[in-house]
C-alpha cells in the first residue's frame, strides 16, 4: 500500500503543473492590458501609463517567464518588493468585488464551507440510508419509489429547484428568506461584541451564546441546503442501491444466511460495510458537484459564498476573479481526490495490488 500512495504522490507535481499551466493558458486569452489586474488595483486608461505598467510588470515577456512570475511572484523593479505570485497567495485584483481576490476568498469561503457541511445531512440520510432500504426491499414499493425519487432529483436542474422553492416558501409563505442571515442578525455579527471563532455562523452563534442568531442562520440555510444536496443525494441513492443489490448477491451473504444469522445481522454486519466501499469513493465527485452547484445555488439564494462571487464575476467578464476561484476549487478537488484514493486503499485491500 505504501507503494500505491507513493506512486500517487509522485504524480501530484505533474498534475499540479498541468492544472496551473491550463489556467495560465486561459489567462493568455486576455490582452496584456487586462492581465495587469494581476498586479495593480486600478487599471489606467492613459496609454502612456498603461505602457509603463506593462513594462514594469513584464506583461509582454515570453509566456514561460510570465508563467513563472505568475506562480512565484515578480520583483518590482521600482520598489524592489516582490509582487504577485499565486504561491504567495496573490491572485490579483477583483474588478467586480473591488478588492484583492485573496481577500474576497477569505471573506466568502466560510459561507460556502458552512453550506457544504450541512448538505452532508440529506446526502447521508436520503441518499445512503434510503439506498440501502431500497436495495433490501428490491422491486417492492419502496424500491420503486426510491428509483422515481432519484430520477426526479436528477432531472430537476438546481437553479429551477431553487426558484421553485423560493416561489413557494419565500414569496408565498414567507418561511425561508434568501441571504445568509437577517439584517438584525448581521448588524450583531458586524458589531465588535461578536467574536468570530470559526466564521461559521451556526457555530459562532452558539459559542457567543446567541440562540436566536443560530436559529436565524438555520432558517436561511434550509432551502440552499435542500437545493445543493439534491443532485448529490440522487447520485448516492442510485450508487448505494446498486452496490447493495450486488453485495446481497455475493456468496458470503448467502453463507451468512445459511448459517442461520438473523436477516438484520446479515444486512448490517455483512452486506452493508462492503456495499458502502464504492459509496465512500464518491467523496471527490461530490465535492466537484458541490463546488459547481454552489455557483447556481448561492446566486439564486443571494448567499454570500465563493460560488456567488464566481457567478457575478463571470457575468461581468471579470476573468481574473473567476479564474482564480476555478483554480482554487481545482486545487481543493485534487486534494480531496488524493484523500479519497488513499482512503480507498485502506478500506479495500483488493486495490493495493493494482
Amino acid at each position: 500500500m505504501i507503494n500505491y500512495i507513493i506512486r500517487r504522490l509522485l504524480i501530484m507535481p505533474l498534475i499540479l503543473f498541468g492544472v496551473t499551466a491550463l489556467i495560465f493558458g486561459m489567462l493568455f486569452f486576455l490582452s496584456p492590458e487586462e492581465r495587469s489586474a494581476l498586479y495593480v488595483r486600478d487599471i489606467p486608461h492613459n496609454v502612456a501609463q498603461m505602457d509603463a505598467i506593462i513594462k514594469r510588470y513584464g506583461l509582454n515577456d515570453p509566456i514561460y517567464v510570465q508563467y513563472w512570475h505568475w506562480l512565484v511572484g515578480k520583483k518590482d523593479p521600482i520598489s524592489g518588493n516582490v509582487v504577485g505570485g499565486i504561491l504567495r497567495g496573490e491572485f490579483g485584483y477583483s474588478r467586480t468585488a473591488s478588492q484583492p481576490v485573496v481577500d474576497l476568498i477569505r471573506r466568502r469561503f466560510p459561507a460556502t464551507v458552512e453550506l457544504a457541511l450541512y448538505t452532508i445531512i440529506p446526502i447521508i440520510t436520503i441518499g445512503v440510508y434510503l439506498g440501502i432500504i431500497a436495495a433490501v426491499n428490491h422491486n417492492k414499493f419502496i424500491d420503486q419509489a426510491a428509483r422515481v425519487f432519484a430520477i426526479l432529483g436528477h432531472s430537476l436542474p438546481s437553479f429551477i429547484l431553487a426558484l421553485l422553492t423560493l416561489m413557494i416558501f419565500y414569496a408565498k409563505l414567507g418561511w425561508f428568506p434568501p441571504g445568509r442571515v437577517s439584517d438584525w442578525a448581521s448588524a450583531v455579527i458586524l458589531s465588535s461584541a461578536w467574536k468570530p471563532y470559526t466564521y461559521l455562523i451556526t457555530v459562532d452563534s452558539l459559542l457567543n451564546g446567541r440562540v436566536d442568531i443560530f436559529l436565524d442562520a438555520l432558517r436561511h440555510l434550509f432551502l440552499p441546503v435542500i437545493v445543493l444536496s439534491t443532485i448529490s443525494w440522487a447520485t448516492y441513492l442510485r450508487i448505494t442501491r446498486s452496490s447493495m443489490l450486488e453485495t446481497l448477491r455475493q456468496e458470503y451473504v448467502v453463507t451468512a444466511r445459511a448459517k442461520g444469522l438473523k436477516e438484520k445481522d446479515v444486512i448490517n454486519g455483512h452486506a452493508r460495510p462492503n456495499a458502502l466501499i464504492p459509496v465512500a469513493t464518491m467523496g471527490g465527485l461530490t465535492m466537484a458537484a458541490m463546488l459547481g452547484g454552489a455557483v447556481l445555488t448561492e446566486t439564486v439564494f443571494n448567499f454570500p459564498g465563493i460560488g456567488q462571487a464566481a457567478g457575478a464575476a463571470a457575468a461581468q467578464l471579470d476573468v481574473i476573479t473567476v479564474l482564480s476561484l476555478t483554480l482554487l476549487s481545482g486545487l481543493i478537488l485534487i486534494l480531496a481526490n488524493l484523500v479519497v484514493d488513499v482512503m480507498y486503499a485502506f478500506l479495500d485491500p483488493r486495490v493495493r495490488l493494482d
Binding site: L22, I151, S158
Partner: protein, 350 residues
C-alpha cells in the same frame, strides 16, 4: 417456443449435451438486421414503461422543434431566434393577455381550436418578451446545443481514447495525464470561466458556452473508450481473427472500434439532457446568448429580478422550467433504462 420444425435426423440423434434440451429460439428479421446485442437493448427499452414515457417526451420535443415555425411563425425573418417583444414595459403580463404590437402571422392551428387572434399564451417576461415563442423556439436551441456538444465531445473523446489504447506506453501515459488535468476542475466553474474568457473574443451568442462545454466535457468519453478498447482487444473473436491472419489495422477498424464504441454512443446520446441543463445554467448566470434569445435558461433568468414577488409572476419561471424539466426527464428516463440493460453486473438474476 419451439416453432422450427425438426428434421428426422435431429430427432433420432442421441442426446450428448444439455444444449439439446434447450428449446429453439426463433430469430426474427429485426434481430438478424441489427444483431443480438442491439436487439436485446431495443427490446429492453421498449418493454420498460418508464423508458417508453421518456421516448415519447423526446419525440414530442423533436416534433415541436421541427415544427416551431408552424406553431408560432417568426416575426423577424433574419433572426428567427430573437423572441418578439410586445412593447417595453417592465412588468410581466399574465398568460392570455392580448398581443398588441405586431403579432406573428396566423398559424395553421388557429381554425382548429377556434382562435382568431394571437394572445400571449404563456404570458410575457419583464421587457415584454413573449414566453410562448421563447419556449417553442427554445426547443430548437436545446436540441441544437445537445447535438453539437455531444458530437464534438464524442469525436474528441474517441480520438484521445483510441490513440491512448492503441499506442499504450508513453502515449497512453501522457494522454491520460492530460485527461486528468482537464478533469481536475468542477465542470460548471470551468465552463463558466472559459465562456467568460471567450465572450469578448468571439462575441455573445451560443458559441462561447458551447466551446467551453466541449473543452471540459470530453474526458469521460476518452476514459470509457480507452477502457472498452482495452477489454474488447482481449476477446476471443479478436484472437480468432488474429489466428486466421487478419491484418492488425483491419482488426482495429472492423472489429475493435465498432464493438467498443456502440455502448458509448448510446450513453452519450443520453447525456443531451444534462448538456441542455448546463447550457441553461450558464445562460441563467448571464453568460452566452444576448438578452431575448429564444433559450430556456435565458427565459428563466428574467425571474432573477422578481424573486420576492414570484408567487404573483409565477409564469416567468413555470413554463420555461417545465420545458427544461420534461426535456431532461425524457432523456434521463431512457438513459436510466439503458444503463440497467447495459450494465453487465445487473444482467444476471434479473
Amino acid at each position: 417456443m419451439s416453432t422450427v420444425t425438426q428434421t428426422p435426423s435431429q430427432r433420432t440423434a442421441p442426446k450428448t449435451s444439455y444444449l439439446d434440451d434447450l428449446p429453439d429460439r426463433k430469430i426474427g428479421w429485426l434481430e438478424r438486421l441489427i444483431g443480438p446485442e442491439n436487439h436485446r437493448i431495443l427490446k429492453g427499452v421498449i418493454s420498460n414503461p418508464l423508458s417508453v414515457i421518456g421516448i415519447s417526451l423526446i419525440a414530442f420535443f423533436i416534433i415541436v422543434a421541427l415544427a416551431a415555425p408552424l406553431i408560432i411563425p417568426s416575426t423577424n425573418a433574419r433572426e428567427p431566434f430573437m423572441t418578439p417583444r410586445d412593447g417595453f414595459g417592465p412588468v410581466p403580463k399574465p398568460p392570455g393577455t392580448e398581443w398588441r404590437t405586431r403579432p406573428p402571422a396566423e398559424p395553421f392551428w388557429f381554425p382548429i381550436v377556434g382562435k382568431t387572434e394571437w394572445t400571449h399564451l404563456f404570458g410575457t417576461t419583464s421587457g415584454q418578451y413573449d414566453l410562448f415563442y421563447g419556449v417553442v423556439w427554445g426547443t430548437r436551441t436545446a436540441l441544437k446545443v445537445g447535438l453539437i456538444v455531444e458530437t464534438c465531445t464524442l469525436i474528441i473523446g474517441i480520438l484521445i481514447g483510441s490513440l491512448s489504447a492503441f499506442y499504450g506506453g508513453h502515449v497512453d501515459n501522457v494522454l491520460m495525464r492530460i485527461t486528468e488535468i482537464f478533469q481536475a476542475f468542477p465542470y460548471l466553474l470551468a465552463a463558466l470561466t472559459l465562456s467568460a474568457i471567450l465572450t469578448p473574443v468571439i462575441g455573445k451568442g451560443i458559441w462561447p458556452p458551447l466551446i467551453a462545454m466541449v473543452t471540459f466535457g470530453w474526458m469521460g468519453y476518452a476514459r470509457i473508450i480507452r477502457g472498452d478498447i482495452l477489454s474488447v482487444r482481449e476477446r476471443d473473436y479478436i484472437m480468432a481473427s488474429r489466428v486466421i491472419g487478419v491484418k492488425d489495422q483491419r482488426i482495429l477498424l472492423k472489429h475493435v472500434i465498432p464493438n467498443a464504441i456502440y455502448p458509448t454512443l448510446i450513453l452519450a446520446s443520453m447525456n443531451i439532457g444534462a448538456d441542455v441543463i448546463s447550457f441553461a445554467a450558464l445562460s441563467f448566470l448571464g453568460i452566452g446568448t444576448e438578452i431575448g434569445y429564444a433559450d430556456w435558461g435565458q427565459m428563466i433568468a428574467f425571474a432573477r429580478n422578481w424573486i420576492p414577488s414570484l408567487s404573483t409572476y409565477w409564469w416567468i419561471v413555470l413554463f420555461p422550467a417545465l420545458a427544461l424539466i420534461f426535456f431532461t426527464l425524457g432523456w434521463n428516463l431512457v438513459g436510466d433504462a439503458l444503463r440497467d440493460i447495459m450494465d453487465p453486473r445487473l444482467r444476471r438474476g434479473r
